[in-house]
């Protein structure tokens, strides 16, 4: 695909639109899903099945006044929500939804997504710091230490997959899982990997995505029962809206990564329809799992969370890395 001005602009617009629409309707899905789990109807007044609820909520948020607390660092306060949204949208650029639908495929795609994810944690930090609110401050420190702790097992697990694929190109990784359903990375015995620990690394990766995106049960950054609303305590209006969208965009990216690295990307288990639909089915099933988990479990403690990372996930993923390296040497 040739890089032209038109392509770039369209790609950026599509990425933003995709992120925004996803964020809006994932909120809707989350509310409906939570309601179903709790045996309530959920939003059902505006439009059929309440489908007009997200745009109306958006309009309401936009109509609100942006209040900046006195004593806050104004520039950082405004910059933080933008910073939350920016990396998420940038990451969409390199995610291949199918063989053709990718804005810009890069041979360092995996690395790029992690680099921008790292950028995302600074937004939490600045949001918490600039709010001049003790709850926000505590929450942002929590959230950042959490993201830093979970980046490590996540990266190690990704390296395992990269080692198996021999490439950091997301397209390439998917291509190697093509074929039957059994050649997906998550299934150990038939694919390229021959690594029987692959389901475990899938689990580790999925847990890390939960933690990286600050989702329950790891949502310590916005632990509403102890830290009020966490790092976005002081945010109202579209500032809050951007954080919200950023969170859901991150969920989508995390699920995309899981799909690509473990579930064979757009590879279809059996024919039927084109690959991009399979990608989207896998993506939304993972997101549904996110929602399902969110409404089932209580929140962990901060030390429980760090213990999980340092005492369980990192040793296991390191062992997995060594094991995979050994296997690659043997086979």
């Amino acid at each position: 695909m040739r890089l032209t001005l038109f392509n770039v602009v369209v790609a950026v617009i599509i990425a933003i639109a995709f992120a925004a629409v996803n964020a809006a309707y994932l909120v809707w899905a989350e509310r409906r899903g939570a309601a179903r789990i709790q045996r309530r109807p959920g939003p059902n007044i505006n439009g059929p099945f309440g489908l007009l609820q997200p745009p109306l909520d958006g309009i309401k948020l936009m109509a609100k006044q942006l209040t900046i607390p006195g004593g806050a660092d104004k520039i950082l306060f405004i910059a933080a929500p933008v910073l939350a949204m920016f990396p998420a949208i940038m990451s969409f650029v390199t995610i291949p939804f199918s063989e053709n639908i990718v804005a810009k495929n890069m041979n360092v795609g995996v690395l790029m997504i992690f680099a921008f994810a790292a950028l995302g944690s600074t937004s939490l930090l600045f949001a918490g710091w600039s709010s001049r609110n003790k709850y926000a401050m505590m929450a942002s420190i929590r959230a950042v230490s959490q993201t830093v702790a979970y980046e490590i097992p996540m990266l190690i697990t990704t390296i395992t997959v990269v080692m198996i694929a021999g490439s950091m190109d997301l397209m390439e990784i998917v291509h190697q899982q093509s074929g039957s359903i059994l050649s997906w990375n998550i299934f150990p015995l038939f694919g390229r990997s021959h690594n029987i620990l692959m389901p475990m690394s899938f689990l580790i990766f999925f847990t890390c995505t939960l933690a990286e995106t600050n989702r329950a049960p790891f949502d310590l950054g916005e632990a509403e029962s102890e830290l009020v609303a966490g790092f976005h305590t002081e945010y109202g209006s579209m500032g809050f809206g951007l954080f919200f969208m950023g969170e859901y965009a991150n969920i989508v990216i995390g699920s995309c990564m899981t799909t690509i690295l473990f579930l064979g990307g757009w590879g279809c288990p059996f024919g039927l329809f084109p690959g991009v639909w399979w990608f989207i089915i896998k993506l939304y099933l993972l997101i549904a799992t996110f929602i399902w988990i969110r409404w089932t479990f209580p929140r962990t403690t901060i030390y429980g969370l760090l213990n999980l990372s340092w005492k369980i996930l990192i040793p296991l993923s390191l062992f997995n890395l060594l094991f995979t390296a050994g296997l690659l040497k043997v086979f």
Partner: protein, 178 residues
Amino acid sequence: MNQSMLTHPNLFTVEGMAGVVFLILIFVTLTGGFIACTSRRVVRAIAGLIVCFVGVAGLYFFLNSPFVSMMQLLIYVGAIAVAISFAVMLAAPEEKKKLGPTGPLEGPLAFGSAALLAGGFSVLVLKTKWPAMAKTNDGSIKEIGIRLLTEHSMVFELISIVLLIAILGALVLARRED
């Protein structure tokens, strides 16, 4: 004047776009650096540093090295800047003292020496004629990996030992004596 200055890309081509993006990156880098060095608030300085590093990562991208560019983001922004912010939050929670403009040497003196340096280097750069040589390889990630583990393996190992020692040292230093 250099040879490449002679090309005049059109604004509406990809090369022209790249030029615009490059100008933005220069602006971002220098503004970020300026904020980082002059802001009186520590956190703003860190924000400036982050902006500066993002700009530098972009410059690396223009230098045909996406790998180093991403590593720049991952390490500098994701690790170093965050670590500095952490230290600020731990060590100066009240931000009682803002960063003073004057240091051991007074502000103008520092500014003078910095300006002298920048000016001198710039003049030097513009005066010098840099020879270009033929490339022997493409500088891809694969090449980097191979060279890291063959030619530079000793340095690589030493760096890892340095990092390990640094981590241990940091732990020892930051521990409270109970």
